[in-house]
């Protein structure tokens, strides 16, 4: 423990942070063991909980029965996460109890548990670090995680792989906590890879269908590209600074000059890793396919937590990014382009989960915009609010999908698409709770006050505008003939356009899902009903968070509503200095000063959000929609391009995947493996040995005379060597 024993947090609940990942890991072990046990006799058919289980007269027991050990799994799975959340809340309370000045002075609380890699100059410990940033992440992960675990009880309880599902989900939370708690890059990388593994397992959860298994593989492979960058960044960090601990590195960076090429290079490699994990251009392509997993998984992993790991990493490495304004500008630009790109694609998706997937990519783009301009607090703020409203949207979509699935199941049309919005419509009458809550989340993501998304998105746009207009570190930069400030204005403009598109596509999703007439089918309509309470209750909690989440960080202009900039103050010890450095301001300056341009900016953002919603309501005609397989009016070229996401997948397939396959097959397999390794080395060495054997056997003539000659000549040679050598 060493120096940590002097820390104000030492001895308190913070000493138990090792328990945070251990609890879910325990859940993983128990649930995993249960999933491997032979299925016990399940108690009867149908669901004792009621909802949906009453009319399954002809249903087969395989589908309608509860999963094996469902009771035990339902208790263990969410409980371990709930306990972790309780512990996190206790730790948070203990952090709040310590006077702020003492906490800031002491720096992060680092707990070392064991030596991991003592190799030469490299010293990597199993160490956890607790500071204000990891605290926020822990609370989000365990809090939203608990809600999603509870929702999963309802959503997955009839799945035969129920125990396996919770095992994977627990495993994910364990690794995610390692990711945010790691006190150095390698420990963080363990979590980073671990969540990738859990993501892979859960995307391919229904692996019997080969497209789901492929989607899992795609996520894994695309992430490898990003991890390659992250690893290179780690190598460079160690080669140049001799350590990989966050605290030590932050001190070592002092030797670097602002704008040094080393810092820029490391940051760009780090960002490559972030682009993979957080689905940014060009590595976003795995996230839409990741929707093949169960919907709560999409909510937890592919919206609320794992995909935000990249944002966390940038914020965690903020001190380094502050030294590399060029790399930061790249982050902001990539974020902006991704946000706009994904938002346009989201306009034309029919699959409700695909809409949300592209929306997630778009919102992650916002976070990187903020992280890129050094507004790390804004990025983390949006990360938190996004976790609330996007988890709510995904779980709401899950509730809708569940309802449709149950309805189709009741009428034995199981092969109908329960995720296609053309099969929905008019669900506001049958699912009022989901309807209201999802509208709250939609208003939040669109940026309508006073919902959470408004505050965070406004802070991001405000920060971008402020950096563009003030003498920030970006002013000196020049890229493609434009100054860094000009590019930031471009980022800001893209942010505004994306805000408009966000409002449009989210309203479109709501209109097609909940409004208009129902298109599910005559037979199914009576079977549509609201999900059971175990699913709606987490929705309601998330709904409350979606509404009040913005209070975490109220802008100065709304100071009447409560304490201004709570999150700003909270995160300032971690990200304040790099943030101020990039903004060109003095460290410790008041981050949020109310001014009239800010009021104008907020006004513009709100106007744009409302404009988007109105546009969608006026322009879209849910009444004209027909069910998925019925005849529909042909699409225009633009629509088709958007629906196919600009054919990027096809382009990647033709341009990268297939040439790579051809190259691998013809050159690597047939040429290198078949020709050189098998042909030259394996068969060649066998041939050489056989040839040498044949030659040697020719000497064995069996004729005594020949042997005598050999002996005689040999003797002469030996005598010659002895006599004259």
């Amino acid at each position: 423990m060493g120096a940590a024993s002097m820390h104000p947090l030492a001895g308190g609940p913070a000493a138990l942070i090792w328990l945070l990942p251990v609890l879910p890991l325990l859940g993983f072990l128990i649930n995993g063991a249960l999933s491997l046990l032979p299925a016990a006799r399940t108690h009867g058919r149908g669901a004792p909980e009621g909802a949906g289980g009453t009319d399954d007269i002809h249903g087969g027991p395989a589908h309608d029965a509860l999963a094996p050990y469902a009771g035990l799994v339902s208790i263990i799975g969410p409980t371990v996460i709930g306990l972790a959340f309780a512990l996190a809340a206790t730790v948070f309370a203990s952090m709040l109890a310590v006077p702020r000045a003492a906490l800031v002075a002491a720096g992060p609380y680092v707990a070392r548990y064991a030596e991991w890699m003592p190799a030469g100059d490299l010293h990597v410990d199993w160490a956890f670090q607790l500071d204000q940033l990891s605290m926020v992440m822990i609370l989000v992960i365990t809090g939203v995680g608990t809600l999603i675990h509870i929702f999963s009880i309802g959503y997955m309880r009839r799945d035969p792989g129920y125990a396996r599902y919770f095992a994977y989900l627990n495993l994910f939370v364990a690794f995610m906590l390692v990711l945010v708690l790691g006190a150095n890059y390698p420990v963080m990388f363990i979590g980073w890879e671990g969540v990738g593994l859990a993501s892979y397992l859960l995307i391919g959860f229904w692996f019997a269908e080969s497209s789901n298994a492929s989607a899992g593989r795609k996520a894994f492979i695309v992430n490898r590209v990003g991890d390659f960058g992250l690893l290179l960044a780690m190598f460079l960090l160690f080669a140049n600074f001799g350590t990989l601990d966050f605290v030590a590195l932050n001190h070592a960076y002092a030797a670097l000059a602002v704008g040094s090429s080393l810092a820029t290079l490391i940051c760009l490699f780090l960002f490559l890793g972030c682009a993979g994990k957080s689905a940014q251009i060009p590595l976003y392509i795995w996230l839409p396919d990741a929707m093949a997993g169960p919907t709560p998984v999409s909510a937890l992993i592919h919206a609320a937590t794992m995909v935000t790991a990249g944002v966390y990493l940038v914020a965690r490495s903020g001190v380094l990014f502050a030294l590399a304004p060029a790399a930061s500008l790249v982050v902001a630009l990539v974020g902006a382009i991704t946000a706009l790109f994904a938002a346009t694609v989201g306009l034309k998706q029919w699959d409700i989960k695909k809409v949300l997937a592209y929306s997630t990519i778009s919102q992650l783009g916002y976070m990187f915009m903020a992280a890129g301009v050094g507004a790390y607090t804004a990025a983390v703020f949006h990360l938190v609010t996004h976790a609330f409203f996007k988890a709510l949207l995904f779980l709401g979509a899950g509730s809708v999908i569940y309802a449709l699935h149950e309805a189709y199941h009741a009428t034995h049309r199981d092969d109908e698409d329960a995720q296609d919005m053309r099969n929905m419509g008019g669900l506001r009458r049958t699912m009022p709770v989901t309807f209201v809550l999802m509208w709250a989340a939609t208003l939040a993501i669109a940026g309508v006050p006073p919902f959470a998304g408004f505050f965070s998105k406004d802070q991001i746009l405000g920060a971008v505008f402020e950096r563009a207009s003030s003498s920030s570190a970006f002013r000196e930069l020049s890229f493609l003939g434009l100054s860094g400030s000009a590019w930031l204005y471009v980022v800001y403009a893209i942010g505004l356009i994306t805000a408009l598109l966000t409002a449009v596509y989210m309203t479109r999703m709501m209109l097609y899902t909940f409004h208009g007439a129902n298109r599910t089918g005559e037979g199914e309509r009576p079977h549509l009903r609201e999900a059971p309470w175990v699913m709606t209750a987490p929705l309601a909690v998330l709904g409350v968070l979606t509404v009040v989440g913005g209070w975490l960080n109220i802008p100065a202009i709304a100071s009447f509503a409560g304490p201004v900039g709570a999150l700003d103050r909270w995160l300032d010890p971690v990200v304040g200095a790099p943030s101020a450095s990039l903004a060109g301001a003095r460290a410790g300056a008041e981050p949020h000063a109310a001014s009239s341009p800010e009021a104008m900016l907020i006004g513009a953002a709100v106007a744009i959000a409302i404009l988007g919603i109105v546009l969608a309501v006026v322009l879209l005609k849910p009444a004209r929609l027909v069910a998925k397989d019925a005849y529909a009016a042909p699409e225009s070229g633009v629509e088709r391009t958007l629906r196919h996401a600009y054919y990027v997948d096809e382009a990647v397939d033709r341009g990268i995947a297939r040439p790579l396959m051809t190259f691998s097959r013809n050159v690597l397999w047939r040429g290198v493996d078949g020709g050189i390794i098998d042909g030259l080395f394996v068969r060649g060495s066998a041939l050489a040995a056989r040839g040498a054997g044949w030659l040697g056997s020719q000497a064995q003539s069996g004729s005594v005379g020949n042997y005598a000659w050999v002996v005689a000549v040999g003797a002469l040679v030996v005598i010659g060597v002895v006599a004259f050598g």
Partner: protein, 98 residues
Amino acid sequence: MIAQALVIAAGLFVIGVVGVLTRRNALVLFMCVELMLNAVNLTFVALSRLHGGTLGQAFVVFVMTVAAAEAAVGLAIVIAVFRHFGTVDLRNISLLRG
């Protein structure tokens, strides 16, 4: 005196070697081998006399003993070969070819 003895011994040895290398009859081969052995014996005796010791002569007794034993075993093998192949011409006997 010693020179003549050594020259005769060398000549006998060469005759023996040439015989072993050129002749194919197993019995002739044997006689050639004996010739070589005795050439060596002659050398031993001559050098022993030159040095005035008796060690070389003692060796000759050993060599003759071993040669007698070798002749007994060798002739037995030759008889076995003749019974099996009906000939002692070594050109035709190459069953140990690799």
